[in-house]
Symmetry: C2
Subunit: 185 residues, 2 copies
Amino acid sequence: MSLSEKNLAFVMHCGEMGSRWGFNRTIGQMCGLLTITKEPMTANEIADTLSISRGNVSMGIKELQSWRLIKVHHIPGDRKEYYGPAGSIWDMANRVFEERKKREIDPTLSLLRDNILEEAHTDDERFAQQQMQEIHDLLETVTKWSAELQRLSPEQLQSLMKLGSGIGKVLDFKDKILKKPGKSE
Amino acid sequence: MSLSEKNLAFVMHCGEMGSRWGFNRTIGQMCGLLTITKEPMTANEIADTLSISRGNVSMGIKELQSWRLIKVHHIPGDRKEYYGPAGSIWDMANRVFEERKKREIDPTLSLLRDNILEEAHTDDERFAQQQMQEIHDLLETVTKWSAELQRLSPEQLQSLMKLGSGIGKVLDFKDKILKKPGKSE
DNA sequence: ATTTAATTTCTGAAATTTTTGAATACTAAA
DNA sequence: TTTAGTATTCAAAAATTTCAGAAATTAAAT
């Protein structure tokens, strides 16, 4: 199992970006490799292709599964496990996004909630609390919004994405349109 | 300069989240501290408050400045530098987002572009290239979109964010409304 | 110019993270 | 039950990152 020069370059790039994307080098490489490889690969093939230890691959697989980025395939009469991407590119991006939200936003949101509930005593605390409130509100909006996006049908999403600079126009219309009953929130 | 228990908890939390947010513990703490502290602080105050070395603070400041998250204040007749947040919470979130895009997406986008330009020779390469094309298109859409969002006025953004589940409805209307001329892309 | 106050850079030590590879566990077939 | 093929675990080694503190630098004040 050896990669063409270009494909190798891509896989290595994934490794280098790995840590920025939330995992480590090896896992980034594995993810990249499985994404551009047509047929699912065995753990040993992965290890050989990337020149890393078998144990490392095993850990990497576990991690990628916890991100729900890869899935296992089986071939009848063969007891090896074959790994491939868990879905489309779009699916994978969504998973990464979701998982990162869980790790990067949710814990902070929860801490902020607790903190905001308590009463501020000093002036310093009052100012701090205001700031925390703002952070909280911002994170909550983002959270709600991403949940909203995930709820849209693929067509709607497509439509929204393609909107581009049209978004401003549509927003302006929105006010006129949504003059239905009263409160909605 | 000592922090109340609650504020300390927040600052330490920022430290723990630091690496997930793209910097390291110390820098996370510094960022949190400066954000909830009303008055700008000197490097020494920061070092004392967080019990870290003066040199470390200096490096942290440089890093936070490269993220454009803090700015310097001067007090007439005082040659120390005072550091405070570079803008509102919203501004800061934007900066982090922007900066991370620059670090996490742009390099990949550029690699993918190069890769896609070349011609695929083998079947494996063809498949790989298809996948890369998809990743590329996705990242480009995200990029364009975030640029679009940044172009909106704060009011429009507010409006968009508050939309929540209304987004679906608005999208449906959009098709009817935008039945202007023909192509828009 | 010299002194003084401040900031920045640098180095190696410490802490943390990643990786390996041998030992162990698992599982299906013989 | 045993064996063979496979996957997983985990302690130790390697690599990387972070950090304190000293030395160097810069800039203001005298």
